[in-house]
């Protein structure tokens, strides 16, 4: 009997839950060490939620991309481009609705091009989206003439930036809505299974009647659209569209996804894990700032987190 219990304990796949355990430890640690700096105040915690919303939202879609064994490096640049196109549309006096549609449409269109090049022209997604990262950023600079484009619509700023409902910041509400949708699609809908199967073994998925190219097309489009949404949130928060939005976000997003327990090798994915991963990275950044460290040190820490995440998230070795 004792040997059985021991077997069960060893077998407990703690890697799967490591992000939750780590998150709790991080919270406890900072709430003690940074008590005086006000880490555990509602104000600060909501601030973290606001700051991480964009990474979380892009992370939800990226979870699908990585689960299908692809990658999307263009998300940060797409966010910037969408912020610009939204701001320009509204500046032209076409109204908020058009602005929103144009912003989402921009992301969707770029996602479509990414997906098309990956599935039809058969270029690896790493290359396609690396190039798209440059193209989208370049376009954002070009059409904006590198100048910020102000957004004056109050309702836009409320809905996509600084608003709050019953004390809950709108950005947190966006995060929760997108995370819930992503989680349900991945876990309850056939599309989720099909995505995981495509990433787990594309050939077997095809033989099982899954149109793997269509799955990939869809996940790239979703990723583009969520990047577009994230860009619009950046714009709402800062009340302007700027080409610099989302610089380096692709790495934070991928880090959040991998940290959350989604496998870089495809076939395994978790949306909740991604959101926790994203919030945890945000929490650590926030704590570093409270401790008086600056951006350069944040970058070092973030790099270390990525390495740790991948090291711990590696496939389990054979028994």
């Amino acid at each position: 009997m004792p040997s059985k219990v021991k077997g069960k304990l060893i077998n407990f796949d703690w890697r799967q839950y490591i992000v939750y355990i780590a998150f709790v430890l991080v919270l406890i640690y900072f709430s003690i060490t940074l008590a005086e700096q006000g880490f555990m105040t509602t104000h600060n915690l909501l601030n973290i939620a606001r700051q991480t919303a964009m990474i979380s939202i892009m992370g939800v879609a990226m979870t699908f991309v990585i689960s299908s064994k692809e990658i999307d490096l263009s998300v940060g640049s797409v966010a910037a481009l969408s912020a610009i196109t939204t701001a320009l549309t509204m500046q032209a006096g076409l109204g908020m609705i058009s602005g929103v549609l144009v912003g989402l449409g921009t992301g969707l269109a770029i996602g479509f091009v990414n997906g098309y090049l990956v599935t039809r022209v058969a270029i690896p997604s790493f290359l396609v989206t690396l190039a798209m990262m440059m193209i989208a950023r370049g376009l954002a600079m070009w059409v904006s003439g590198t100048a910020p484009i102000p957004i004056l619509s109050d309702s836009y700023i409320f809905l996509f930036g600084s608003g709050s409902v019953l004390g809950v910041p709108i950005l947190l509400i966006w995060t929760l809505i997108i995370a819930a949708i992503g989680h349900i699609i991945l876990r309850k809908f056939t599309f989720g299974r099909e995505t995981l199967a495509t990433g787990g073994n594309e050939m077997a998925a095809t033989y099982s009647g899954i149109k793997t190219n269509r799955i990939k097309m869809t996940v790239f489009m979703a990723s583009g659209m969520m990047a577009g949404l994230a860009g619009m949130l950046y714009a709402g928060r800062l009340q302007a569209g700027r080409f610099t939005f989302g610089e380096g976000d692709e790495l934070s997003v991928i880090a959040a996804v991998i940290l959350g327990g989604t496998s870089l090798f495809g076939g395994v994915g978790t949306v909740i894990g991604t959101v926790i991963g994203s919030i945890m990275i945000g929490t650590i950044n926030n704590a570093l700032i409270l401790q008086g460290l600056d951006v350069s040190q944040q970058m070092v820490v973030q790099g270390i987190i990525i390495i740790l995440a991948v090291a711990f998230g590696r496939k389990k070795k054979k028994a």
Partner: protein, 500 residues
């Protein structure tokens, strides 16, 4: 046959608290060919993985040539003279035969660079000793599967192997390739190498082996010379009870009047399928026989919409249809159990359950939402029906034994209740008991009106279930023979090889 070269004593091994090997004793004499047999999941591969240092034993001792050995990894095992040809190959396709043979042990020149000349020369010597006609400079990817295996064996021989383990070596070989392998085994035996041979094919065992050990539920139930046991006794030991059903063919009532469910006319696809025509009726089991490379697998792949069709017609239920993807085929009620379960049949990292429902997601969902309860129920039913040995339906499928993985692939299509079933080597790696069960299930499916096309290189099995056998040669169906006109396996062999 000499002294005992290998003693495995009281070997115990468990995974996650489930005992797989329970005090197994296993002794092998120097220079013999020793068959290791047993049902799917009996622990054969596990025992051999312990012997090759892939897994570590929980308890027990191993002695090789009377000295106790501690095998922590494959290198230790190689040093002790043990090599294994795995169920899955471990060659690198883009490298040459010689490069594969000397992988990680490349001979060096005095400057420390790889000595290609010596490598090729040494490989040539081994290949010559084995009596093969391949060149050390051939790329492995250009060789047929049979030669992959020969290359694996050459690799084992190049490291001074005393005990060579073969895990189901013939499951991917043609008859001629199998014969080449057997003569090689004979030759290896002459030169003093001891061989442990795992297979589910009864006829082979009696052809090549000196002694037999049978494992059942992780214990050794018998070790005996081959000459002192009959096939029936052996089967009884493996399945642990008296077998009622057998490999006998039973004539099934024929329902001629109906229109064919599947009709293939002058099908062409790739370079292997040149002109294939046949029709398949509901309630019929049609066998497809031919040599490896005759285009059988390619034919079923083309029908199923995996490979592009370049000419001819596929008619399903009288309607002209050419599937451009498996999805379309499945929607029209056509299913394929593919040849290679690991690459085509399974998502190895996913659970038994996920794999079983994968081709039926549409059927198991309402408005694209998966109905979990319904899915779980079906999965449980099939695990029971096919006797899949697994601790739970959530177990990762790659941790199942080979034969049980095959059952999961079959289950995918049973769950789908597909009307037209294309089965490419459906019992590959499946144990004798399960084979009989699967044949019985295929008969039941046909009795229920489904149409079944079976490709199998195991003639006994093909003849046990087929109502009619198609002979395929060089990309064409050359003849169709009613089962009742076939006297024995020789008839079919002759037709396959024959000039006509």
């Amino acid at each position: 046959m000499g002294n005992t070269i290998l003693r495995m004593k009281e070997i115990e091994k468990g995974f996650n608290g489930n005992t797989v090997l329970d005090k197994v004793n296993f002794n092998v004499k120097a220079g013999e060919v020793h068959a290791l047999m047993g049902g799917n999941g009996a622990g054969k591969s596990t025992l051999m993985k312990i012997l090759t240092g892939v897994y570590q034993l929980d308890n027990g001792t191993i002695e090789i040539e009377d000295s106790k050995v501690n095998l922590e990894n494959t290198r230790d095992a190689q040093q002790a003279g043990v090599s294994m040809i795995f169920q899955e190959f471990s060659l690198i396709p883009k490298l040459t035969v010689a490069q594969n043979i000397f992988l990680h042990r490349e001979p060096r020149t005095s400057l420390g660079m790889i000595d290609d000349k010596k490598m090729v020369k040494d490989s040539q010597r081994i290949i010559d000793d084995m009596g093969l006609s391949i060149s050390p400079k051939d790329l492995v990817e250009n060789l047929s599967v049979g030669y992959w295996q020969m290359t694996e064996i050459a690799k084992a021989l190049s490291i001074n192997t005393k005990i060579l383990i073969m895990d189901e070596p013939t499951s991917t070989l043609t008859k001629t390739e199998t014969e080449v392998l057997f003569s090689l085994i004979h030759q290896l035996k002459q030169s003093g190498i001891t061989i442990i041979y795992i297979s589910h094919r009864m006829d082979e065992i009696f052809q090549v082996c000196d002694r037999i050990t049978v494992l059942r539920n992780g214990t050794n139930v018998i070790t005996t010379p081959c000459s002192e046991i009959t096939m029936e006794e052996l089967i009884d030991h493996i399945i642990g009870g008296n077998m009622v059903k057998s490999f006998e063919w039973v004539e099934r009532p024929k329902k001629e009047d109906r229109k064919p469910l599947l009709e293939v006319k002058n099908l062409q696809s790739g370079s292997r399928v040149k002109n294939v025509s046949f029709s398949l009726h509901g309630g019929e089991i049609l066998g497809l026989a031919g040599l490896m490379g005759s285009g059988r697998s390619e034919t079923v792949r083309a029908i199923f919409g995996v490979d592009p069709v370049s000419g001819g017609e596929v008619n399903v239920r009288g309607e002209r249809d050419s599937f451009s993807s498996p999805k379309e085929a499945i929607q029209k009620g056509v299913g394929l159990v593919p040849e290679d379960r690991r690459s085509q049949g399974l998502v190895l990292g996913h659970s038994v359950r996920e794999n079983m429902i994968l081709s039926s997601l549409d059927k198991l969902s309402k408005n694209k939402v998966l109905q979990n309860q319904q899915a779980n129920k079906k999965v449980e039913e099939l695990v029971k029906k096919l006797n899949v040995k697994t601790d739970s339906t959530q177990k990762t499928v790659s941790l199942l034994s080979g034969g049980n993985q095959q059952k999961v692939v079959l289950a995918k299509w049973l769950l789908n209740e597909t009307e037209i079933l294309l089965l490419d080597e459906p019992t590959s790696g499946v144990d004798i008991g399960a084979k009989i069960e699967i044949i019985e299930i295929i008969r039941e499916l046909a009795d229920a009106g489904k149409a079944v096309l079976v490709v199998s290189s195991e003639m006994t099995e093909l003849l046990a279930m087929s109502d009619r056998v198609l002979i395929m040669k060089d990309g064409e169906v050359t003849s169709s023979i009613e089962r009742k006109d076939i006297k024995g396996e020789e008839d079919v062999e002759r037709a396959i090889q024959g000039e006509g």
